[in-house]
Assembly symmetry: C2
Homo-oligomer: 324 residues x 2
Amino acid sequence: MKLLELYATMKKDVQFIENQLEKSIRCDHELLSETSLHLFKAGGKRLRPVFVLLSGKFGTYDLEKLQHIAVPLEMIHMATLVHDDVIDDANTRRGQLTVKSKWDNKIAMYTGDYLYAKALSIVTQLHNPVIHQVLSKAIVQMCIGELEQLRDFFNTDQTVRNYLLRIRRKTALLIAISCQLGAIAVGAPDKVSAALYRYGYNVGMAFQVRDDLLDLCGTEKQIGKPPGSDMRQGNITLPVLLALQDEQIRGPLLAEIAEIQQQEGKHDASKAIQMIRGSKGLEQAEEMADRYIAKALHALESLPNVKAKKNLTDIAHFVAKRSY
Amino acid sequence: MKLLELYATMKKDVQFIENQLEKSIRCDHELLSETSLHLFKAGGKRLRPVFVLLSGKFGTYDLEKLQHIAVPLEMIHMATLVHDDVIDDANTRRGQLTVKSKWDNKIAMYTGDYLYAKALSIVTQLHNPVIHQVLSKAIVQMCIGELEQLRDFFNTDQTVRNYLLRIRRKTALLIAISCQLGAIAVGAPDKVSAALYRYGYNVGMAFQVRDDLLDLCGTEKQIGKPPGSDMRQGNITLPVLLALQDEQIRGPLLAEIAEIQQQEGKHDASKAIQMIRGSKGLEQAEEMADRYIAKALHALESLPNVKAKKNLTDIAHFVAKRSY
């Protein structure tokens, strides 16, 4: 099953958000429109808007209101990507040139700043202060996560807890508040928005663990980049940390990672990847992702039986199996 | 008269804001606290908080509320500085190493992101949606201004209007909303906050024109950096644009600027500075700054005669004469 099929029931509304997103980034400034549209056109799963819309079904569904959450959250996601590409020195994303590569780092930095600011200016059209508080606090945490990722590059001494805290900030939080804010915007009860937050948080965690697994197990065709890219950048992910716990593998794997670091990513990562694939790290990481999915599904249980609940369940199962 | 003397009457409250600012950036994360505190400790005139507090005297003065405007506005100012230093490749600011120089560009980028986000999360403690709208729209405009500055580097064909629009976004807007939001936060009437916006806008424009003049006329001791730094970076300011309107000077000045551009700022700017000093550009730019000051004072006229009005008048006169 493809994610798109899950979207089918809400195709019209997702398209509306897509159009509003494009309109919003077209209006202010020529160069910023160009760079932002470049990002926009590279596409993406638009997961965050979908979560906002589905969560909006647990109250008085109101697309007019929900767009002021869905559009900004996707913009914030885009802002983090464009700043990430500066940090990672990435030349392509989703098969397209990155902004930092097509233009330059400086323009990429200001494009990210602009997208953050624009996102917040759209949210202010909703007058519920709780929404602003939730959103701005999440962005603070996301910035901290970004910086921690920098600090943790090539840090093979980091703990699994450390990793989990980082992906919580980097990925799970924005997905969690997509669900939470969608519910809040339509006046759903606090219990409902809190349950949706937990759902989103756990799906987000599973999503990132899966993403990190794919980088080590996927083919170049599946993941759109050579496997082991994370490791070459110094991003030490869960399967690597788990593999390092194996006394047999630890020594040689540390040596390989040190070599990669020394040669600034130019060293072939295939030997390290083989070691990790030969360890229990992959399986253990998969189990952790599954546990997050189970928690996500559990969070849904208390929710009323609207159709969106089935959709959210399907998305959780989809994330559990994702191989793209 | 020094700016500090103007602050004397509100020393206690300015110090309170200073303490709150420090507290706010100390609390989240070790490295971000370090980089932000480094910026904080480099000091600054804290003009924006002072404008917030003085404007707060035109309603029911409430330091508890005003801190949630003053602290974020200074943080946003700090965020723009740290991102500016990345763009300008600046190694020192106010005699201190910049974040990008003491740490690196990546950390500077995330420090800026964090300060923006943290600022917005503090503002959300005030529940007036107008405040959020004014602030987020201003930041969008500021981002556009930053990007335009990039685009306009070494563009000797830009118009004076172009320059004015740029400094409006880059400098005047944040000072304007400091005054406006201070008044809104304490429930001053719309007419009052609008007049204070106009005051702040015009003071801000004069401030930036003066700043650009100082870069060409000041001594290294006065301005804390070698004169002509703007030009070496490619920042074509008002006195330069006005000097270029002189047919006698235009040709040789263009040639000098082209030389500076070609040698990537390593070419001595003293010849270009001499030409500009010999033109009517300086005098005309001074006249423009004076006109902005006159407009700022005019904006104050309609305001009730509280003591802060006298303070704001003094600050305008101070900006008109500033030589630091």
